[in-house]
Amino acid sequence: MDVALSRRGLSRWLVSAILLGLVLVILYTSLPVSSWTWLWGRLSTFATIFLGIFIEAVPFLLMGTLLSGLVDVFVSEDWLARLSPRRALPAALVGASLGLIFPICECGTVPLTRRLFRKGLPLPAGIAFLLAAPVLNPIVIFSTAAAFGWGRMLLWRLGLSLIIAVTVGLVFSVEKEPINILRSSAFEVELPMLEARQAEKSIPEKLRRALVISTDEFFEMGRYLVLGASLAGLLQTFVSQTSLLAIGNGPLLSVIVMLALAVLLSICSTVDAFIALSFAGTFSFGSVLSFLVFGPMVDIKSILMFMQVFRRRTVFYLVLLPFLLSLLAGLAFNYLSI
């Protein structure tokens, strides 16, 4: 059965590779030379941007999966259950501030959140952690301050991220069991694991175990980093940013354009403040702020990672609610010109 599966997989790969090769040969013979040098130049631009995002994000993803592996091996369910508040609002608030202890960005929060859910973290806390941790953590606070100074942009970014994360966390508190929002595979795969852990082991054994778990998670989540980086790379190579910025005038459109940019550019939250700074000259305070609040919660790669962990309906709300709230916040700033 195993052999048959892998054979089928291999032959499918071979067939697609041959088809791709054929298409390339036909294109090569039919297109003029000039378009090939153009394409080659574009391809190298794409490769540079793609690898740029990937190389930049890989250490953060590794950090997240490593933490997740360590949490799995060393943090017991009892301990977590005793410490986490039962009521929704305190749970959401605690969840949103967990990022101060786990300094990771959005690539790392998804695997860690799933792990904490499995360990019995209450739903509002997990959701609030998922959305707030990429901003409410020491590294991001520092990088935002480095870009904008210790001023109102930093304060509003932190405040709004906290408010939105807690709000969405509270919305999700209507569900009682995490299993209702997670994809079923996210739970059942783990079952043999529980038994394996019963036989307590020495510290080095446990560390090894944590490393194997984080490796598996790196492969699981890494795919979405690769896909997200490819999409962002393609967009940045072929869609002109100036045309996007040209439509971005007016209090409503500017916010929508910046929200779209936040999703499409998929920049890591630890550094997005510097990117936002380069827009601060052309875009209103409200739109740049909404970029800084929404981008760490939702972008191409995090949506893809959400889909691996959560049910479709959950992903829909996880994208829609922060979008609407960030839009609202951006509009409020633009219209009230605070």
Partner: protein
Amino acid sequence: MSTRAYRFLQVFILAGLCLFLLLKLLSGKLSLYINTRFLPLTVFGIVLLGIMALTLLRYRMAGDNHEDQVHHDHRTASLSGLMILALPLVIGILIPSRPLDAAAAATRGMNVSAPLVGASSTSHQFEAAADTRNILDWIRIFNSATDLSPYLGQAARVTGFVYHDPRLPANQFIVSRFVITCCAADASAIGMIVTWDNGNALKESTWVEVKGPVQASQLGGQPIPLIKAVLVQPVEQPDQPYLFP
């Protein structure tokens, strides 16, 4: 796919990524992709990838596969799922690393206003001798100095690639550099206008050194420094094609 084969492929890809990053690091090519101040993070990544590959290899060899069914149902244990993580390796090996060029600048647009100053910028570019300032230093001066007059007429000597902006007349081009804050995804092109009669003959994306007195000019309504060139000579692409603020 059997657990053994799956684990072996994982080790292979982890080791591949580790070596790939290590080679890029040692050859200095990593700075074509990310800002050099993030290199310690990459080193951390390389070490962790190496440790993961070794742990997994020993784990596999030790043969305690009886508990190695975790994370490993038919949905996730697919060949294509693994191969996606080999994609960065394939792209990195097949497509030779080349810095972003004028074509990329055209897509991204010339970021004349370049508010890249950031709170971390010091005033050293204001005091530096005029001919040691790079393009970023000049742009910062033009964006932040309240009075430009002490700088006008100073002799600049900057290196950058040629970018023919469609808004400029035939005797002008832009000598440009990419500024990278974090990684290539946030690269923005900055530049200074160069007035040079043979400017049109210069090929797009070629690297040049430009010398001449600085004047104030405008591009798309934004202030931008202009060099009235006395000398434009082709140079080798610098080891470090990007500028890091």
